[in-house]
Amino acid sequence: MAQSTDHVVDQVAQLNAARSLVLGDAALYPQIVNGILPIVGANARLELRRWGADFLAETFASPMLATVQKQELAPTVLQSIQETLALPETDTAVLSSLVQTSASLYPLIFRHIVNHPEDSKTWETMNAVKQEILRKMDSFPCPAKICSVKFLQRVVQVQTPGLIADPRRPDQNETSLAVVPRNHALLAIPLLEAEASGLLDRLLGVFQEETSDPLVVNATLNCLAPLIRTRQSIANKIIQTILDFFPAKHVRPPFTPTVRVGVKSMERTARALLFNVMKKYNKSPATIRGLDQRLTNPFRNPSNPLMGKMQAYIERLMQSRLEVTEDASRKRGLPVEPTDGLDNAKRARLDAMTPPLLKIPPLPPGPTSYDQLFTLTQDIGLSSFDVKQLPPDLVVKIAVPLLAQVNPSMLTQAVDAIRNRYETITKEQNLKRQQLYQAATAAAADEDDDYEPDYEPLDVGADASEEAIALAAEDAELEPDLVSLGPFVLPQPPPLTEEEAGDVGRSAVSRVFGMIDAVETTPSPAQSKTQQQLSFARLAGSTFDRDAWVILLTRLATRAPAGLEGGDKSKGELATGKRQPTISDSIRETLYRYILEDFRARLKIGITWLNEEWYNDRVRMKAANSDRGDEDEEPTVALFYDTWVLRLLDGFLPYLDSRDIKVLVRFLSEIPEVTIAITQRVASLAKDPERVNLTVQALMYLIMFRPPAREMCLNTLEDVYQTYEESRPAAGKVLARWRPQALPAPTETAPAAPQAEVQAPPTAST
């Protein structure tokens, strides 16, 4: 015996060496498989049989060995398997491996037979192996039984029609019933399909057993995904069966830890399978749907009713798991499944097939309100409940999960019911209206239709012909009066007098000022920054902040009425004299007051406004010049800039403080044009000894940075120098720098005031 053990050890070592060879180079498989078959055959020692069975299982599962080569090897190996099985084989390990090998062989042999209808012997052998496994699988030891489950799944997969990816290249298609020719000598499609259907029932039978074996259930669940994915014809049935399976109901108390492990594993595996199925269908692109119906799985449609059911099943699983596995000790044991044939699983399935019918209550008699039209419930409490009492976020919380769970067929029923009601009401009303109308026209006494005054179309007179009536009826058919009131024409408003128009205009202006006040505080530093960055590129009034409103106002004041008022003046020269305060004037007045209210903060508005005025003046002067033509009349253009710049300056000068140099300098530097009048106003500040420096510094700034106004300012400064003693120290320095000749003989060099210059506005505004 020791001798023979040594011999076996040697043999196993040799075999392992051979295995290492093929693992390194799959091309050697045919040679080695044929070489080992006699050594590990039916009558060999157990160690060798085990090794051989393992090796064969590995060979036919190997992704390295090409399918074609596997197909060539398959018939030989099959023979060997049949012999071993027929012994009968009793070792669990060998048996499991052989069943595994058979599962791998089945599609190979099937494909071989499809291509070689004459090889009836191989098919007979395969059938013998198949029948042997199917017959004995229930009495197999557990590991082999588990492998038989997989074998069953393989047979079902092969004998159910699959997808034909490319009908022109049959070799490329997956092995399934779909690749069998109709007139095949050995393979009768209807028989094979019927057998597969029976085997599928057997496979799924595990879910309907009273007491589940977690091993078999898990083994089954874990191999169903490929069937669901690739076998459309049976996918529904499989999913439905799983949906009716609740692991917690298929165990018997007491709930030992082992049982709990089993229940938990079945639940988690069922959940994993459904997630896998749902994910696949959700993920697949909708674009495929239109391309090829055969490629399209029914579950790809997210509205598939099974999707919702799967979701609900998963939720229910989670719940039952909590109850059974965690609280089992505290709870009574679940009642044992009834054995009278009224199995819950089957009942549930019947329920699921016929969706519940919605009960539609009839509408109450009399005129119908929208409320009644859309109310389907008969629960008074529910229909009188005011949803508006609930806060919106709560409603959302309730509504979204509810909507997700709405049964599609119920929804369809409800929508149909409302549609029917609506159509009925519409028809009734049309009929009634037509009758009334005919009665009215027949009487021809009065055209006022007291019954339905709103509806009467305006264009239908007393002498309306039959056609018009028919038309009206048609219209009515299209627009039921539930939703329409017929054409409505606003009466023409009485013409406004000029004063009224002015009042309305002024009130509009005051509302715009209200807007400015409203947004005054809002602009954030970031916003103003971006605005500055926009600078030339920005459009006036495009930002809807305070600046935008200001620009709107200044343009309203300066540009909007320009043509109108100008037109007035060109017609009658009297107009200048007794001109009514126009809207633009009132805007100017309001703007003026508005700026003076807080001139330090609103100076910018003033500058914007004055720039607009100045620009407007130029435009009007130019227009007047070109309009003049041959006429000798001097163009008269009222210039607003000069007036308003002085008014504004006069307005705030008295309030200027000696520290307000920045305000003043800013104003003077940014207004579009500095005139003598302006410099004189500035010089007048020097009357106040405290503000002398203000004058000198402002003028110095203009002298330095506003060359067009330099001469004018120097003249003024000279004046100031001579007139006000207090200014001499400061003004003297400036004059020494810019006009030294004025200093030695100040009294002699005061020249006449030069003309006002026209200067380009320093700031651009578009």
Binding site: V9, N16, A17, I32, E58, P63, L215, C223, S265, F275
Partner: protein
């Protein structure tokens, strides 16, 4: 680092340069086809090396450990299983999309790709970046352990079951012996979402091998201390499972089947729920989960 195991410190830092275990001289002239290849010698040595008198004993369950990044928990378990006295065949994977290791802050993890980055590369890169930080948080020690175990992190979803893994043997991966066929009997994940990912991925792979595989989850928090505790518990589970499987292999034939009694009569597969339940009672803080799936 807490998870550091001195047993693996073999003094080398570059496992990819390790030579394969030295093959013993060929014992016999086998058939003509086995005399040429070096791999044959290695395999022969493996099969016969330990105790040639009882060949059945050399058979063991093959394991696979899985966590998110194939760095901490799965590698600790890999270490324990491959260096245990029984030295199980073991491979390991991560289910994440990328290998993520803690960085200077929670928002700046160090990210590497699976299958193409070696533990040694990561080690050297992090040592360059901030040796103090990565030594103090245990990352360098962990990577050092890992690079002594196998070449680099592998992604579970990229694993092709049944694809030969001879190259891992030649690279000197610990636990590679016995996994050259590219299949395992038991997968142990270290987190529920990894278990979900593994079960889901096996379904996606199409169960083409027709080979059953037990998929366990042992919930382990992702830190060095817990990984150490979890690694111990996983080894305990593996020993229990292997013991049952060995029993089944010894009991053969109808006679043997009848002779056993009670749990001994259960086949390995049948005993799994029971083993897990017993194990769970001993390790109540590591919630476990199990299913029987297909490769």
């Amino acid at each position: 680092m807490a998870a550091y195991d001195p047993r693996v410190n073999t003094g080398t830092t570059t496992p990819q340069n390790l030579p394969p275990p030295p093959p013993p001289p060929p014992e016999s002239t086998l058939s003509e086809m086995t005399s040429t290849t070096e791999a044959v010698d290695t395999a022969t040595a493996v099969a016969t090396g330990d105790n040639p008198d009882t060949p059945a004993d050399s058979w063991k369950l093959k394991f696979c450990t899985v966590c998110a990044s194939n760095n901490n928990r799965s590698m600790e378990a890999h270490l324990r299983l491959s260096t245990a006295p029984t030295a199980f065949p073991v491979i390991s994977f991560g289910t994440g999309s990328l290998v993520r290791l803690p960085g200077p802050s929670i928002t700046q993890p160090n990210v590497y790709s699976f299958n193409t980055t070696s533990y040694n590369q990561m080690y050297e890169e992090l040592e360059e970046k901030d040796p103090r930080l990565y030594r103090n948080n245990g990352i360098l020690n962990m990577l050092d352990r890992n690079r002594n175990l196998k070449w680099g992190p592998e992604r579970f979803q990229d694993w092709v079951p049944g694809l030969p893994r001879l190259d891992h043997i030649s690279k000197g991966d610990k636990g590679a012996l016995g996994t050259e066929g590219g299949v395992v009997d038991v997968i142990i994940t270290c987190e529920e979402r990894c278990w979900d990912a593994v079960v889901d991925d096996l379904m996606n792979k199409g169960n083409t091998l027709n080979r059953p595989v037990h998929v366990f989850n042992v919930d382990i928090k992702d830190n060095h201390e817990e990984a150490l505790v979890g690694g111990n518990a996983i080894l305990d589970l593996a020993n229990r499972l292997n013991e049952s499987a060995m029993k089944q292999r010894k009991v053969h034939g109808a006679a043997g089947w009848e002779n056993g009694s009670g749990a001994a009569r259960l086949s390995f597969d049948e005993s799994v729920p029971e083993i897990l339940a017993e194990w769970q009672e001993k390790h109540p803080n590591l919630p476990a989960l199990w299913t029987l799936a297909w490769l």
